[in-house]
Amino acid sequence: MKPRVIAVGWVLLVGVLLLLSPFAVRDRLPDPMATHWGGSGLPDSAASLTGHVLTSVLIWAVTGGILVAVAAYGRGRIMRMYRACWWGVLFGMGVLLLGVNASTLAANLDVPDWRSALLPGWHIAAALGSAVVAGAVCGYLGRGEPDEPSSGSQAPPRLRLEPGRRTVWIGHVTNPWLVVAGLGSLAVTIAAVMLTVTGPGSGAVLTSLLPVSVIVLVVSLATMSLTVRVGGERVVIGFGPLGWPRRRIPLLKIDSAWSEPLHPGQVGGWGFRGVPGSATIMLRGGECLVVRYRSGGRLAISVDDAEHGASLINALIAERVNP
């Protein structure tokens, strides 16, 4: 069977079960029914049958929709880790929602009033455990073929430098989402300050909002764009539109460089990833400049036109070594 058919079939099957199973036992449920339990196993909130069905179907529709959209438009499918995570989340979330639904119905079954619907502790463990097991098994089954070896093993690109000329390379990359996030948080901050100053807003809202929006603003400013400069004696990485903070790597410390396509799924997400010695600065998936240090570590930076940058680094290193 095709993976696409399996995925869509599973999404529909879970949706139908979530939709129909409460109605099948409708006559034995209290109205309203308990839908949430506190730490002691006592119910602390209730909803009508329709409310319960709508909530669970909606959660599943959003989850399934996001996963299908990611599979349809994402470029990570070529990676084994990515496929395993995708199938794991799809089946794990489905099993979790079915488990939660079954446990909610079981607790409500044949009770006179929602307040007397008790939730046994093992229900939670069973729902979580089966979801984890289903996710792990399906992730393993859906992992597919191993990844192609990265192009890092190929000969690094070289450039011919001519005497009496100065050659530099500038690579730049912008993440439009972080630009939007930065501008959005700036707008929210300004609006909150204005409302507080002019009267209608309360100080409490501002004090709770301000730290979050300032953090978002600073982080998105520092990571919304990045410039890499190669020339002279060093490689300089400047973050943000101001090019600060910046990081300088002397060419003496670099062994070689190459260009390699990397995606957030491979390196653990966006932003600054990994530990020194195997770090990645990931602003967007795709072409990355990878630098190998003489000390053995490596640094990958997502940047446009990385191939030319790598060739210049290699040429400058070769010129230093054999002038």
């Binding site: 450039l159 001519e162 009496g164 000329r165 100065r166 050659t167 530099v168 390379w169 500038i170 690579g171 730049h172 912008t174 410039t227 400069r229 190669v230 020339g231 400047g238 539109p241 090019g243 446009d304 036109d305 191939e307 030319h308 940058g309 060739s311 210049l312």
Partner: protein, 115 residues
């Protein structure tokens, strides 16, 4: 963007910068619609005044190679102008010929010998 400046070139600096950018685009490292690195970064990397880079970028915009968009920076508008690129390559060829001791007339006669 890979930029090369000839340290012995007597032409005005902004012309040389425009030539370097034109060559980088002509070599296909940037396609129409791609955004160029900010002028300030280009200037910083080359160790020259940002106004010189801006003047070069404006020249290339007038040539139709680049377009300036408010808030979106400078991007590549179209393919490099064939004649401008040819003039530039010929100039480089002439420089190289001079290094080997050949003059302009020698180069012209070489061109005429070609089929």
């Amino acid at each position: 963007m890979l930029l090369t400046l000839d340290l012995n070139d007597a032409r005005p600096l902004h012309e040389q910068v425009a030539g370097a950018i034109r060559r980088a685009i002509g070599e296909g490292s940037y396609r129409p619609g791609d955004r160029l690195p900010p002028a300030r970064d280009l200037a910083g990397a080359l160790g020259i005044n940002p106004n010189t880079v801006l003047r070069a970028l404006r020249d290339l915009r007038d040539e139709g190679l680049l377009e300036f968009r408010r808030g979106r920076g400078v991007s590549v508008a179209g393919r490099a102008d064939g004649r401008a690129l040819l003039v530039q390559r010929t100039r480089e060829l002439l420089d190289e010929a001079r290094r080997y001791g050949y003059g302009r007339d020698d180069l012209i006669s070489i061109l005429e010998e070609l089929p």
